[in-house]
């Protein structure tokens, strides 16, 4: 029995066995840690991935704020594993029983330990030999082969897949939901707009050429917009609507002013034509009536000029006629002084016309400035349309929104069918603005094709459908604003049902027309018209430097890639209907430089 040889003298067998057991225990703990590492990370990672997907798709939460949460979850799993593997402290005897079972040591270790502790007794000869045998056998255990550091390939593969999924998820285009940065940008744009309104108001106040009534009317409009922009909880849609409405007012007033100037200038031109020369010169001749050449019909030409000025400037016409009358009465002195007065009045009118032209230019500039501000707000809230859509979908039965949505394009949300509808109307408004300002040409055509044709289709049965199908109206009202391209396609798609086509081949059917209201609140309200182009202001996207020369600052072939990428991302998302993605794709393919 050579195997029963005793161990080295002076060696504490109990300490030896205990040390061995603890070493095995550590090895096994490392083994379990390594084996369980991927498994411990997986639940947290899977949970984090689900959270990432959910919050990103639902709320558009930025990846940067979710990745730490995912790391915490995975770390918690790891901590749990470490706690489970490393924290439990087993008594030596239990360890001995466990390992002698695993290593096939046939109760040698536990018996030896109990003999050493005096818990059991045996013959003196057998006790010594048994302990030596146990130590010898335990020392011969190859712990590396008995407890190899195996790795769970399947779990590692799953972990790698999960990490890959996380990576891909972080690259997912976030849904159009405002991030904090976007919200800040919106607020800044609204503040800038408010400042612009204030500046315009100051300019208006200092413009002496403007008629007082017109100035007061425009000031009231600016005050209304300014008050709205100063509100704390103002939505971008509301700001956009207010600014658009003010811009419209200024544009209209500029137009009417221009017409007035044109009329006066026309009358002046007619008067010039009637005199056959410069009116000024004719009056000069009259002023020097004493030196009038005989046979010169200055009086007759001035009479015709007075008739031409009768409507546009009756005072000047009257002054000319008085001078002429004095001439006919041979009161040359009076005729000369009357002609001089008329010359002064003519000069004054010319000055007034020049100032009025300046005022008209300022009104136009103010209108453009207001539209620019509205466009800035719209650009910085590009993500809002989906939020609006989600809100609309979450509020079934709100039939008013579509009406107000169209209404808000005219900037009168508060006159809709209540506050709620007004809010929804504004939500529907912004996409329209988006179409103008942010989405490029297709957005414009979208608003044209999708907005107006839809309205025309519903025009036939408007009175009834307006009452009966408010829900559909919500979609129709929303569709024209739906991120530009979507709105245009909504209009295109709505056409076939109106034609009474039969998609299922069961014969011709009547389809309810798509609801597209054209009146505010009810059929009794004022009629609305959607504008194709909000104005002459250039369509801007991004941060453009002033470009007075009007030249393209960025070569098309350099930015085409950005547009194509944006289009590709949009095509990969759900925002564009499946059947219309080819249209978008073909559009951008056609724009490719060099084609």
């Amino acid at each position: 029995m050579a195997s029963l040889a005793a161990g080295p003298a002076g060696d504490d067998p109990r300490a030896t066995l205990t040390t061995l057991l603890r070493r095995w225990e550590r090895r096994q703990r490392w083994q379990r840690t390594w084996l369980g590492l991927p498994r411990s990370l997986l639940p947290g990672l899977a949970l984090g991935l689900a959270l990432l997907l959910w919050s990103r798709l639902r709320f558009g939460t930025p990846v940067e704020s979710l990745l730490p949460a995912m790391a915490v979850l995975a770390g918690a799993g790891l901590l749990l594993l470490l706690a489970r593997v490393w924290l439990p402290a087993r008594p030596t005897l239990k360890l001995a029983r466990k390992f002698e079972q695993e290593f096939g040591l046939s109760e040698r270790l536990s018996t030896a330990l109990e003999l050493l502790e005096g818990r059991i007794h045996g013959g003196a000869q057998l006790t010594a030999l048994q302990i030596a045998d146990a130590r010898s056998r335990a020392g011969g255990v190859d712990v590396a082969s008995q407890l190899p550091l195996r790795s769970d390939r399947r779990a590692w593969a799953l972990l790698a897949l999960s990490l890959l999924a996380v990576g891909l998820t972080t690259r997912l285009p976030a849904p159009a939901v405002l991030t904090d940065a976007q919200e800040q940008a919106q607020e800044a744009a609204i503040d800038e707009a408010a400042a612009a309104v204030e500046r315009i108001s100051e300019d208006l106040e200092s413009d002496s050429a403007l008629p007082e009534a017109l100035r007061q009317q425009l000031q009231r409009e600016l005050e209304r917009s300014g008050a709205l922009l100063d509100q704390q909880a103002l939505s971008p849609e509301e700001a956009f609507a207010a600014l658009s409405e003010s811009a419209e007012q200024f544009e209209q007033q500029a137009l009417s002013l221009e017409e007035s100037i044109q009329q006066q200038m026309q009358a002046l031109a007619n008067a010039q034509q009637a005199t056959g020369e410069q009116l000024d010169a004719a009056l000069q001749q009259l002023e020097n009536a004493s030196s009038l050449p005989p046979g010169d019909d200055v009086a007759g030409r001035l009479e015709q000029a007075a008739a031409a000025l009768e409507e546009s400037n009756p005072e000047l016409a009257a002054a000319i006629r008085e001078a002429l009358q004095a001439l006919r009465d041979s009161q040359l002195q009076n005729a000369a002084s009357g002609a001089g007065l008329a010359r002064q009045m003519l000069a004054q009118q010319r000055q007034q016309l020049a100032r009025a032209q300046d005022s008209q230019q300022r009104l136009r500039a103010a209108s453009d400035q207001l539209r620019d501000s509205a466009s800035q707000i719209a650009q910085r809230s590009q993500a809002r349309p989906l939020v609006s859509q989600e809100r609309m979908q979450q509020q079934p039965g709100t039939g008013a929104p579509p009406q107000a949505g169209d209404l808000s394009m005219q900037g009168q949300p508060q006159e809709g069918s209540g506050d709620q509808s007004g809010e929804n109307a504004e939500a529907g408004n912004l996409p329209g603005g988006n179409a103008q300002a942010g989405q490029g040409e297709e957005a414009q055509s979208g608003s044209q094709q999708g907005g107006q044709p839809g309205g025309e289709q519903t025009g036939q049965g408007q009175n009834t459908s307006e009452q009966e199908r408010p829900g559909l109206g919500g979609q129709a009202g929303d569709a024209p604003g739906g991120a530009g391209m979507e709105e245009s396609f909504a209009g295109v798609e709505s056409a076939p049902p109106a034609q009474g086509n039969d998609p299922d081949g069961l014969g011709q059917r009547e389809f309810a027309p798509v609801y597209a209201p054209r009146r505010i609140g009810s059929s009794q309200g004022p009629e609305l018209f959607l504008e194709n182009d909000p104005g002459d202001s250039p369509l801007l996207e991004g941060d453009f430097a002033p470009n007075p020369s009007g030249e393209a600052l960025v070569p098309w072939n350099e930015i085409y890639g950005d547009y194509l990428d944006a289009a590709s991302r949009a095509l990969e998302s759900d925002y564009i209907p499946l059947g219309l993605r080819d249209v978008v794709h073909d559009y951008f393919s056609a724009l490719e430089p060099g084609r």
């Binding site: 536990s110 109990e114 045996g122 013959g123 057998l126």
Partner: protein
Amino acid sequence: MADELKLEEFGALARAIEAEVGRVIVGQREVLRSVLICILSGRHALLEGVPGLGKTMLIRSLGAALDLKFTRIQFTPDLMPADITGTDIMEEGEDGSRLFRFHEGPVFANLVLADEINRATPKTQSALLEAMQEKTVTVAGRSYPLQDPFFVLATQNPLEMEGTYPLPEAQLDRFMFKVRVDFPRPQELIDILERTTGADETWPGRVADGAQVMQMGHLALTTPVATHLMERAANLILATHPREAQASDLVRQYVRYGSSPRGAQALVIGARVNALLEGRLNVAWEDIESVAPAALRHRLLLNFEGLAEGIDPDDIIREALHAVSRQPA
């Protein structure tokens, strides 16, 4: 003295005994090991098997190898207790006086073979009770001690039940092991024919004596047993009792009464000896697994359902062993 026997000597003697008997008995290694365990434990064994399997030859060979006084008692229905224990016989002395002299029966030997023990009447069978348990024989009010070592190795035929008297539970419990002697395998049968049908007769030589056997037994009983193994052995015994929590469904259905504490003793003692015979210096679970069927099978009392369905107690023991082995260390 038992302590004087070295472990190396124990191993050498054990191997020599098994080798010497193995020269005569073909195969039957497990039977030989079980009988040897009983002898080294100083306890008795019951061998069950059909006639002609070499039971008697095995015991005779052991007696020869161990140089023990061997007697054989053929149990028959008309065998009387005195035929076993011995009796007082009146004798006349040289001086003409008459006196009773005790004539020892065949039980006064080191190794008693009680052949076909179930053929004798219970009264005769019970005559062995005192001898087996107390190692004394009482005749006419006087007790006579039996010599050490003393082993009873009984045999019985499991097939012929007519005209037999099955051993009562109390007597069965006194046998440490009930060893089943199975029919030899084909190659073993050929070996038996080759050895026993020729002119040469093989007989084992003496390799040990009674004192050495006792020393071996003493050494074996000092083999240490870990606490948790003791607990497992106790749980195993409890698992054979239908009313205990550890009992399996099989036990609850077919067992009327489980093993006695004497069964637990047999289990642990047998495991101790088996461990040393295996060259191990401590008892392991495999030692208990190895001796459990022989130690427990005759101690399980099957109920009517178990008897009617022919349930093998070994199946119940295997299931109990499996259940106990799964218990945490």
